[in-house]
Amino acid sequence: MELDLAKEVLHLVDRMAFVPRIRTRDVLAGRHKSPRSGTSTDFLEYRDYSPGEYAGDIDWKASARLDRVLVKRKEHAGLIQNWLVLDGSSSMAFPSPESSKYRMQVILAGVISHLLVAQGDSVGLAMEKEAAAFVTFPPKRTREGVTEIVRDLCSYFPRNSSSSVIGACRFISGRLRRPAVVWVMTDLDSEPSTLMEAAGTLVERGHEVRLFHLVHPYEEDLPWKGNCLFQDLEYAFRDRLLHPEHLAALYREIYKEHVACVSEGLGSMGAAFQRIDVTSPLEDILPLIFSEQ
């Protein structure tokens, strides 16, 4: 897959910034809030002086006012890890290689990585290509790292793959040592309960989960008519010969239920859910990616 994240695309995110909700515990100085007190200029709190502390932290004016010795503590601005958990299943190849959900996924992954790296955050990647075959990139803060990620993603196209984003979520949840922002991109072609379980595990461990539902309008509307052979992109034995116009209404109803189940479930556990129409222009999609939810 040829992909060139040209400046026309990347410049769209130049003025964007991402502020995660979670607080980083990274000791390195960065932009994001950290539970540690540090040398940031942002006031955190006053605390009584304890003997042996650095006397330079004493706030003499406050101490004189309150008639006790107080130490001013400042916030610690640290860096945050971001993990891109992508869906490498064959269903991401819909509707065609030139306009597939996977292509949009790679574009978004590249753009997100570019922005995060620009603001000093690190970005890693986890994707299950085949069953239990994962590709991972440890978080890096360099553009070369982003390039490497994008190049690897472009070298792959999901075909006959029975992988799942759930597997990737589980893979990284056992490996993350510090709170991170997990960017999950999937087309929700999996059991909602299993997906929510994987997402819930990440949330419980203090990670911020942002799930993006990549969808093509054809998947929602089922607009075909006549005698159609529906071929499963993942399993060959799941082909069905149908008249979709007879089933469209019921299909839309069930599809909405499926998506609502996932979004409500994620919302209840504090994860973010956003629907991304892969046919929309990037100018419309990117604000949705980085909006606070």
Binding site: S91, A93, D187, W224, C228, L229, L233, Y235, L250, Y251
Partner: protein, 642 residues
Amino acid sequence: MSIEAPLFLLALPVVLLPFLIRWIRPPRPLSVAFSQMRILDKVLRRTVPMRRINPWLLYLIRMLAALVLVLLPLGIYLAAAGRGSGRAAVLFLVDDTFHARTRTEAGSSLWDCYRGIVSTRLDGLPLASSAALLGWSGRRLEWRGPSELKKALGQMPPTYGREDWLGVKQGIRALRRSRSQSRMELVLVSSGRAGEPSGLEQALMQLSEEDRLEMVSVGEKLLGNYSLRARVLPRKGGALVAGDISPPAPGVAASAKLVLRSPSGQTAQQQFEISAGKAAPIYWEVAGEGFAQGVLSLDLQDGLELDNSHYFTAEAGRELRVMLLDQKSSRERLKDAGYYLREGLKVLEERGVLNLDERDPRDWRGLLGAPADVAVLHDPPFLSDEEAAALLSFANSGGDVVLVAGPETDPETMDKRLGQALPAALKEIQKTDCRLAPEGEWGRRCPRMMATPFRLRWLFYRLAPGARVILSFQDGVPFWICVPLGGGRVHLISTPFQLAWSDAVVVGDFPRFLQEMVSALSSPLRRGRGAIAIRMGEPFPRDFSSVRALMGPQPADLDEAGAAPGLYRCVLQDGAEVVLPCNFDPGVEEARSPIGEPRKKGGLSAPPSGRIRLDAACAVIFGLMLLAEAGYLLAKRSVPLS
């Protein structure tokens, strides 16, 4: 074996239609690589029971179509088997003429006896048989079941008409065609009288070798029933009563007395002996002035009253008696000058329009007193005094003399011999390109004759006093002139009927043209008499000489309920219209006119059966089902997503 619904064979190619559609455009579904099969499966799990209905419905339709395919030939086979069991269709040929009204000694009529015979036969037929009835008068009841025919026969009275053997022949042919019958059983029901033997024999010649003929006659003793056809013709010094009396049945001989009463009260009588089974001709010359306007009555001397059950005098007019005086000019037929006229008159004789008598024009003695109404002299080269005198005497006696001028006609001789009796003097033969003027009925009945130009014609001059132009050319030159002479008339026609003078003799309606001429000859030129009602059985009043034509009840005669009021019209020879009691049932079909075509009103043919044939219905349903399936297959073609 035959197929009862042969039109079904046209539906058979429809069976191939679904195969053709599948072969030409096999249904290829659109392949869609879909990502959300998980959800689609959930949908299918919910809708599977509904999806399974449609294929079953299609399967049911196919089974029904297969069932029809099996039942239809079976039905054909069973029908053929039933037909082959030996019961052919039965056709009853029944005498329904006026003879059927003859009473029997037992008190019933012959018609009741005929009905009884036919009903007994119908009761013995299987229910699946077909039977029809053809009357000697030509009317018929079409093929139907035995019980239906018996019911229709019960409502059918006999006619007052005579035998129509041509109608019988046509009826047999039509009934055979309508049923596609290869074999018929014919039952001839009559009183045993043969009628006109040649007529019945000719009618029965329509039967094939496979048909079976059975003759059934009534053994009852019959009482009197006669038919009188007569007219009174004026003759010099008296009158001529001509006609015949037809007896009712064979084995019945009787005496009849004709009485002619003049206006002055004089009476003349003539006894006639009627042989069994034969019509007695009447040719009674009555001497005495005034009898030409006399009243004719019939006395059968059997003590029976003149009522409608026994006697009636209403009859169709007899044929015009035409005497053709033409010497054959060549032995070769087509070169004979009078060939076309002779052949045309023969055609009319065959049709019953006239009675043709060919004579040598030099036999002038035979012309005197000849039993003829019209004497046609065709292109006479010479006319002797005796011949001219005979012709004039014939005309004065009430006959019509028709002189057809031709290439051999000598104007001087004509003028000299006939003088003022000639309607106009002959001038010369002129070349022309003119057509006849299509006036009135001439143009309507003989359009081709009117449209054919003549090459040569005689020019007339010096019209005789009282002469009238009956027909002329489009430029006004007379074609046919007539002048009254005594009791008759003398006619002059300007062209002979030869090919050299006009192609009109070879156009299709030349015989019709001659018929119109004969019709004009048989009627007087004056019109305008009022209608007079006459009761059946009463003698004709004085002013009537004979009945020329009978017409059935006209629409204007019917009452509000559509029934004839008991009267019907007659047009007499002198042009008067006579309203006679109508004993025909409303809607009776036929009254024959000697001039022109038989007039038919209504009909006694039974309406076609309303039974729907099961095999035809199956064929229609099967064809519709196949078309429906073909349409369904066509509608299932895939439509690519645009």
